[in-house]
């Protein structure tokens, strides 16, 4: 079996992350319960006429893909695998509301086409003229991890050399509105530094795209090696510690071998207990979190994956993401854990290469 490397990254998030020469140098502050992506100049990457017709999810996906391909110094990949919880949700909203408001008349196809979940993956294939394998995973908070798992399977078995893998989700007004009603979004405005002090249910919703070139050949642009990713549809809080230990053991590691634990805490009082369990399990390990910077969305964990990649490559952990006061001299072995509302859990294990 071949080793698999993260050879490049491309990120658009609620922080200014599209410039790969920076690493959270300046933080975009907010005081809100819904945060939007910091946009690059899209026309630097996509012809303006085409960009105007594209949904934001498509634009974010194409631009981060292009950033990742450029950094990896390649023009083509063998496969494109996308994770998205909701796809281009604004177009879905637009099409449903048009059906209702206009009583099924005067409809145009564009929002319907763009609402198809695989539209981002399809558009990237069109943009790159990539006729290879093309999958889209749409399973809530493990959409991105499913894509990584699929890529790992192909790269380890040498069925492909370079695979573009990413997670993308956009915010939609109506979706935001209804998720506020059912308390999936926090009632109060939050600033990045007080997210985990919040005593309410729900999360701060966000959006973004994070694409990566994964390869089974190490290069001078490599960030880290992906050792493993594992997902669980359900997991009881009582079983989490044991599963984490079992997952590490599969790779001959124990709790003492981790240099960093990156957790998906989103400040929801009803569900952050899962993360607290792991914080206790790894109480001697430096820990980090990121959803105060990215917001919560189905593929927010792809931002966590970006963060882990940057930490390992730069061997530095920005102050703003530290979850505990523990320091370490090196970031060699990093474990990520994420879940959303107590379901769809994932472990991702990365190693310095």
């Amino acid at each position: 079996m071949k080793n698999v490397y993260i050879n490049s990254v491309g990120s658009i998030s609620a922080q200014k992350t599209f410039d790969n020469t920076e690493f959270l140098n300046e933080i975009t502050e907010y005081n809100d319960n819904v945060i939007f992506a910091v946009n690059p100049v899209y026309k630097d990457y996509i012809p303006p006429a085409a960009a105007r017709r594209m949904a934001k999810g498509i634009k974010m996906g194409i631009v981060t893909s292009k950033i990742a391909l450029k950094e990896a110094n390649i023009n083509q990949v063998d496969a494109i695998i996308t994770g998205t919880g909701m796809g281009c949700v604004r177009d879905s909203e637009k099409f449903v509301s048009a059906i209702i408001d206009n009583d099924e008349q005067y409809l145009t196809p564009t929002p319907f086409i763009q609402s198809t979940h695989n539209t981002v993956g399809g558009q990237i294939a069109l943009e790159l003229n990539c006729k290879g394998y093309n999958f889209t995973y749409v399973h809530s908070s493990i959409s991105f991890e499913s894509a990584v798992m699929d890529a790992l399977l192909q790269l380890q078995l040498d069925e492909a050399k370079h695979i573009l893998v990413g997670g993308v989700d956009e915010l939609g007004d109506h979706t935001t509105k209804i998720h506020k009603i059912i308390n999936h979004i926090k009632p109060e405005a939050i600033t990045p530094t007080n997210l985990l002090k919040s005593k309410t249910e729900g999360a701060v919703f966000g959006e973004g795209a994070n694409f990566f070139v994964l390869s089974n050949e190490k290069s001078n642009t490599s960030y880290a090696e992906i050792v493993s990713v594992k997902t669980y549809n359900t997991l009881k809080q009582e079983a989490l510690k044991q599963q984490a230990i079992a997952f590490l053991k599969e790779h001959d590691l124990s709790t003492n071998d981790l240099d960093l634990l990156i957790l998906g805490n989103n400040g929801d009082v009803n569900f952050d207990a899962y993360y607290h369990t792991l914080s206790e399990t790894f109480s001697k390990t430096p820990q980090a979190y990121y959803k105060h910077l990215s917001g919560e969305f189905n593929t927010a964990s792809s931002f966590g994956f970006w963060l882990a990649s940057k930490v390992i490559k730069t061997q530095s952990l920005p102050e703003i993401v530290r979850l505990n006061g523990l320091q370490t001299s090196q970031y060699k072995t990093v474990l990520l854990y994420n879940q959303y509302r107590g379901e769809n859990h994932s472990f991702t294990l990365l190693r310095q290469c």
Partner: protein, 400 residues
């Protein structure tokens, strides 16, 4: 690697039957399930024909013994019924005995409820339980719960009309790689105003019965359905002495990279997918006995797919037919529906007639199988082609 991927159970619900046996009876009796839409209140009722399942949501909730407070979309209800039949057919008693995963496919997800309660959500607390059921992974989570699959690999694929074929492909790869011992694969999609109006804007819905591969074809009939297959490793089959229905022998996935919704004129993606599937199976084109075509009856699909078939099979195109005229195009579920039909074809040595065909297409001289044909079948190739250029092929075989 090189391990077998056995199909040991299957379940289906479609417009031509509520289980595998009923579907087979309709197929061999040339009974289509296409009618005017009854359960969806749409202005297009007289402009379109659909493959609708007779059960109401309430009837299915009762069959599944769900509490009144449930928030199952119709996609989840159909999926749960079909997956449970597959589990029963595979004689699975203890789900935890082997590492069991679930890979489902859907394009509609919970859209049926979202379009019904879109504005109601803002005012009516009773409808708000369905908000969480909108995203595509929700129906899969519910199917896993119905099957008792816990702490395991459960995920959802959405690549438009090729989704379920891709679920089968991923499941087969996971078994081959030894990541799972058993995996339930398939897909579910219900009818919705969203898809009816979406395909209407694309002007590819027929106002009458769809006529795959006919020169005068007018477009597709939408359908709703769910189907699941149980795939098991050699290890499980041996240990449990399981009867094997058929094997997943080959698979291929490629992207047409031509247009967001249309297929390329010469079916580049479909050609690549079929070639790759043959390669994985270790077959020559002449090893294929029957092609269950995607055959949606749109002008674009049938031309592009037909040309791709000729590119792969040359002057020796095997018997082929589309079963879309029976069920309608069931979108993300289609690949699983047609996988069940492919396995039934192998088991019974039967090729289904391509219904409603009258006029030979001008662009080529291949003609689908028009009558029920009995023939010893060893292999069936099934195509699924979708929006976003997604093209998939799965090959089923009688022998490992």
């Amino acid at each position: 690697m090189g391990k077998g991927v056995a199909i040991t159970g299957m379940g289906i619900i479609s417009a031509i039957g509520n289980n595998v046996a009923e579907n087979y009876q309709s197929l061999i009796n040339a009974q289509k399930g296409i009618s005017r839409v009854k359960k969806i209140n749409t202005n297009h009722v007289n402009d379109i024909m659909v493959g609708e399942i007779a059960f109401t949501n309430t009837e299915m909730e009762q069959q599944l013994q769900l509490p009144k407070t449930n928030n199952y979309s119709r996609t989840a209800l159909l999926g749960a019924l079909a997956a449970k039949e597959a589990f029963k057919n595979a004689r699975i008693k203890d789900v935890n005995q082997y590492k069991t995963g679930l890979i489902s496919a859907t394009s509609v997800g919970g859209m049926d409820m979202t379009e019904k309660y879109f504005y109601d959500y803002l005012e009516n607390p009773e409808t708000q339980k369905y908000i969480e059921g909108h995203h595509a992974g929700d129906s899969t989570q519910k199917i896993a719960e119905q099957l008792g699959i816990k702490e395991s690999l459960v995920t959802t694929i959405s690549t438009a009309c090729s989704s379920a074929a891709n679920a089968i492909m991923l499941g087969a790869r996971l078994i081959k790689a030894g990541k799972l011992d058993r995996v339930v694969v398939g897909g579910s999609d219900c009818l919705s105003k969203f898809t009816i109006n979406g395909f209407k804007t694309l002007m590819i819905l027929s106002d009458t019965y769809s006529t795959p591969f006919d020169d005068n074809r007018k477009g597709l009939n939408l359908g709703e359905a769910a189907a699941f297959l149980v795939l098991e490793s050699d290890k499980v089959v041996e240990a449990e002495n399981k009867p094997v229905l058929a094997y997943v022998k080959g698979y291929g996935n490629a992207n047409d990279a031509f247009h967001q919704t249309a297929s390329s004129d010469h079916g580049d993606g479909a050609t690549l997918a079929m070639e790759q599937a043959l390669k994985v199976a270790g077959y020559a084109p002449s090893d294929i006995d029957y092609i269950n075509a995607h055959g949606t009856a749109t002008g674009n699909n049938d031309l592009s797919e037909g040309r791709a078939i000729i590119r792969v099979f040359g002057n020796h195109v095997p018997d082929f037919s589309s079963t879309k005229a029976y069920t309608g195009h069931t979108l993300a579920a289609a690949g699983a529906i047609e996988a069940v039909y492919s396995v039934l074809a192998l088991q019974n040595n039967i090729i289904y007639p391509n219904l409603n065909f009258k006029t030979q297409m001008k662009e080529f001289n291949i003609t689908p199988q028009l009558t029920l044909k009995e023939k010893e079948l060893k292999t069936v190739l099934s195509n699924s082609l979708g929006f976003g250029g997604n093209c998939s092929t799965v090959i089923f075989s009688k022998e490992q």
